[in-house]
């Protein structure tokens, strides 16, 4: 039986951040994640490193945390943060009073602003609606959540951290009323094992209450679904926000080769069962079009939804709930860390690990804000000019992923999950959404003898079904054409249709 000091449940940004922090403080730990890294809200968010502007009027405390963490992350995580800057645009009819309060609060908190005329805003973002009243520039950035998690994990692994992805916690082991370990089961093989630890940290986001319940505790939380749309190219090189109280569809974030527009906010009960509905797509698209008029004539390649784990409050409106975070001591050896946001993941990890050293009676201070994320030197970054040098045997034409890159990823994480390969290579992230390349990638895996053909057939079917769920709500225009082609390939040429 494996023993460690701290068991972290959850491989989102918070869990990965805690693993890195503990590693730097020299505390042994094991992280358990039921899927791949960033497969919950972390990977299903906007990928926005907030300046704090979004919260500055209604939640100044959260806004202050955002701007301070923003400045830290752009320093320590250069390869996963793109310093795009952001604009808050005021459209005709948007409240001037809100704008005044916005500027005043930014000044109080220390968020640098620059008020731009429409023509100066158009110089920065030519696609922006020319009839805006004005734009306020803030230090928003875009951030790659998956890469962020991987870099945090790099440090953990280097310093002896044990990482188990695709492992589900089946039981929290208690002795004399105290949590002393967990039983886990590996996703595909069903292999079970038990781990022992002195502290169990519940960093499972939307699944937090379920996890706490396994140890007899509870976490009061509200689950709120947010749906987003992905465009097939960058409509803007800056983050675009609507200058008004938070509402549906008021943020557009450039991310790698695409833009992400969202979100909605709808209460949900079960984080495992969320769908994007076509009226949400209509809503987000209509709002995005107000800020960037060409939005709806742009090809939309996919939709996705994540579940925000918000701390419960008395009021009914999800958006009025603080985006702050809280650490709950269940008094049984388990701590839950809940709420918060991607931007403040490091701070959350710091506070959680401060609690750990306090419990262990140690004096080890947090150093995660000073040390750059490890492993960035190996990242090429996205620019095509760099990748063109190694292009040979392209498997995914949309994202220019080579056979070598797929094989490297297979060696790195094993051949079992196509999602893992996609996260690590960007395979299938482009306009055809894996319509061509997934069949190829799975073929390569079986050719190398690393995957049984029957397994790859099953995975391909699962992938196509999941993929279709993501693109179905936004199917029109060129994406509809692409989809009919993909359908004719799999059902017409490869004979994969349901027969009878």
């Amino acid at each position: 039986m494996m023993k460690t000091d701290v068991i972290i449940i959850g491989g989102g940004s918070t869990g990965c951040g805690i693993a890195r922090d503990l590693a730097i403080r020299g505390i042994s730990h094991c992280l358990i994640e039921k899927g791949d890294f960033a497969s919950g809200a972390t990977g299903a968010c906007h990928g926005l490193l907030h300046s704090g502007g979004r919260y500055v009027v209604n939640d100044p405390e959260a806004a202050a945390e955002c701007i301070s963490e923003n400045m830290i992350l752009r320093k320590i995580g250069q390869k996963c943060v793109e310093q795009t800057g952001g604009l808050f645009v005021r459209l005709p009819g948007d409240s001037k009073n809100f704008r005044d309060r916005f500027l005043k609060s930014c000044e109080t908190i220390g968020i640098e602003t620059d008020v731009l005329s429409p023509s100066r805003a158009l110089d920065l973002v030519p696609n922006i609606n020319p009839s805006i009243e004005e734009a306020i520039k803030v230090p928003d950035c875009s951030i790659d959540p998956f890469r962020l998690c991987m870099l945090n994990i790099t440090t953990s692994k280097k310093r002896g951290g044990r990482i188990l992805i695709h492992h589900r916690v089946t039981e929290i082991v208690k002795e004399h009323g105290k949590c002393v370990g967990v039983k886990v089961r590996e996703g595909l093989t069903g292999r079970e094992m038990e781990l022992r630890g002195r502290i169990v940290i519940n960093a499972t986001g939307a699944w937090g209450d379920k996890t706490a319940a396994m140890a007899g505790g509870s976490v009061p939380m509200t689950l709120s679904k947010g749906s987003l749309i992905v465009t097939n190219h960058r409509l803007t090189n800056m983050v675009i926000n609507r200058l008004r109280p938070s509402s549906d569809g008021d943020i557009i974030v450039p991310n790698e080769a695409v833009c992400l527009a969202g979100t909605t906010s709808m209460p949900v009960d079960d984080p495992d069962n969320i769908d994007v509905e076509s009226h949400e797509v209509d809503l987000v698209a209509a709002e995005a079009e107000k800020m960037i008029p060409s939005f709806n004539s742009t090809r939309l390649i996919r939709t996705y939804a994540g579940v925000r784990p918000l701390l419960s409050s008395e009021t009914g409106d999800d958006r009025s709930i603080s985006r702050g975070f809280r650490i709950i001591d269940h008094q049984n050896g388990m701590f839950s860390i809940m709420g918060g946001k991607l931007t403040t993941y490091r701070l959350m990890a710091e506070k959680m690990c401060d609690k750990v050293v306090e419990v262990f009676g140690l004096k080890k201070r947090c150093r995660t804000a000073e040390i750059p994320l490890e492993g960035q030197e190996q990242l090429s970054g996205y620019p095509l000019s760099k990748r063109l040098k190694e292009l040979k045997d392209i498997v995914c034409e949309c994202e220019l992923v080579t056979r070598d890159a797929v094989e490297r990823a297979v060696n790195d994480v094993g051949p079992r999950y196509i999602g893992d390969i996609q996260h690590r290579t960007r395979l299938g992230m482009g306009p055809c959404q894996g319509g061509f390349c997934t069949y190829r990638a799975l073929g390569i895996m079986q050719e190398s003898g690393r995957m049984k053909p029957d397994e790859s057939k099953r995975i391909l079917k699962e992938f196509l079904q999941r993929r279709f769920k993501g693109i179905r709500p936004a199917l029109w225009g060129d994406q509809l054409r692409e989809e009919q082609l993909v359908e004719s390939i799999y059902l017409g040429i490869l004979g994969m249709e349901e027969k009878g």
Binding site: D393, Q465, W476
Partner: protein
């Protein structure tokens, strides 16, 4: 200015070319206008007539009476496919099959595809579960993985040949080289394969596919067959190229790579279309017009967020419900509601509610064709293409 064409066909896919060939064979002066290579080049090259049952003609008889097959009548459908087979035999790319019995061909995924007429290179592609199949592939070919097939077929094996090139198109072109073909055949003979069939991805040549196929088969003294790959598909390109060349050989005029910029109307008729060509625009005048621009993939129809539009004449289009209902939730159940979209026509293939009296419509742009639902892609293209030509012939 040149004299008007008897018929101007808009769309150079299966349906448009089938109509055009039928007309030029009767001595008509015909022009075909196309944006570029059609969807046919992405297809398997097989003719699906009705693939959701054992008997294609029997299946067609049970279709709703507004389906294009039923509009033109089952007898006409049969006649048109006979014409197609005659044309292809003469053109040196013979097709085999029985209109009353569907057949199976092996796919690159190891499943069976149900279809009706197949090129001769796929005649042996229906395999008994216990007969030995040896699959040949090519080094680096990213669109074909033999293990997808061999894993589902107990009695099988595979070998990989290094052709020096690795895309389907490039390998197919290599086979046109006689020395390469001999080298390949020697390699095959040296494998000393057990008795049974040999399967190849469909890359055995472009222009000379039949002679290449026959030579390999004769030298190996056994049944061989091709497996159509994902796009670009060589059998689809062979079919299209034969069609296009046939049309040109019979004296047809081709406006290739051209889009229609404007339409001239006169008294309820289409007088001419103008093509956006470099320099001065080209005006193509016709007595009759056939619209064969296909469905969404080829661009005959375009879906906006809440509507479907016909892209050349802005014809009245049938829209099947709201966007949220356009697609099923299950990817693997063929036939989404959106497939019903298209141009509604009467039994003479004239669009309903249209101002034009000299326009006929054929192919997958027709409403209710539902190509995936019924598995009737090239079948409806051929049948309605011939029917549109016949309608024109009656008027000329």
């Amino acid at each position: 200015m040149s004299s008007p064409y008897d018929v101007v066909v808009i769309g150079g896919g299966m349906s448009g070319l089938m109509a055009a060939i039928s007309l030029v064979e009767k001595g008509r002066n015909v022009a075909v206008i196309s944006k570029g290579d059609p969807v046919c080049c992405l297809s398997t090259g097989c003719i699906d007539l009705f693939s959701r049952g054992d008997d294609p003609i029997g299946g067609i008889e049970l279709l709703p009476d507004y389906h294009p097959y039923r509009l033109i009548g089952v007898e006409r459908v049969k006649e048109s496919l006979d014409i197609f087979q005659d044309i292809m035999r003469v053109a040196g790319l013979p097709y085999v099959g029985d209109l009353r019995v569907n057949r199976k061909i092996l796919t690159p995924f190891g499943t069976d595809k149900i279809t009706c007429l197949v090129p001769e290179t796929m005649e042996s592609a229906d395999c008994d579960p216990d007969e030995y199949i040896h699959v040949i592939s090519f080094k680096g070919l990213k669109d074909f993985y033999p293990s997808y097939i061999t894993s589902g077929h107990v009695n099988s094996g595979y070998s990989i040949f290094d052709a020096g090139v690795s895309s389907t198109s490039a390998i197919a072109e290599r086979f046109e080289d006689k020395d390469f073909l001999q080298e390949f055949i020697s390699w095959l003979l040296n494998l000393s394969l057990p008795d049974g069939k040999i399967a190849f991805p469909a890359v055995l040549g472009t222009r000379s596919s039949m002679s290449i196929f026959n030579e390999i088969s004769n030298r190996l003294e056994r049944d061989i067959f091709e497996i159509p790959t994902i796009p670009p598909s060589i059998p689809g390109e062979r079919l299209f190229n034969r069609f296009k060349n046939l049309f040109l050989e019979k004296g047809g005029s081709l406006y290739w790579g051209k889009e229609i910029a404007s339409v001239e109307k006169l008294g309820g008729r289409i007088e001419a279309v103008t093509l956006s060509t470099r320099g001065r625009p080209t005006r193509v005048q016709g007595t009759l017009f056939i619209l064969a621009t296909g469905s969404f993939v080829s661009g005959g129809l375009y879906a906006s967020m809440d509507d479907v539009r016909e892209t050349v004449f802005d014809l009245e289009t049938y829209l099947p419900g709201e966007r949220k209902d356009w697609f099923n939730e299950d990817f693997f159940i063929p036939g989404h509601t959106i497939e019903k979209a298209g141009i509604r026509v009467d039994s003479t293939l004239r669009p309903l509610d249209s101002e034009f009296s000299n326009l006929f419509v054929c192919g997958s742009i027709l409403a209710f064709t539902e190509v995936m639902k019924y598995g009737c892609g090239h079948g409806t293209a051929i049948a309605t293409g011939v029917a549109a030509a016949n309608m024109c012939e009656e008027l000329l």
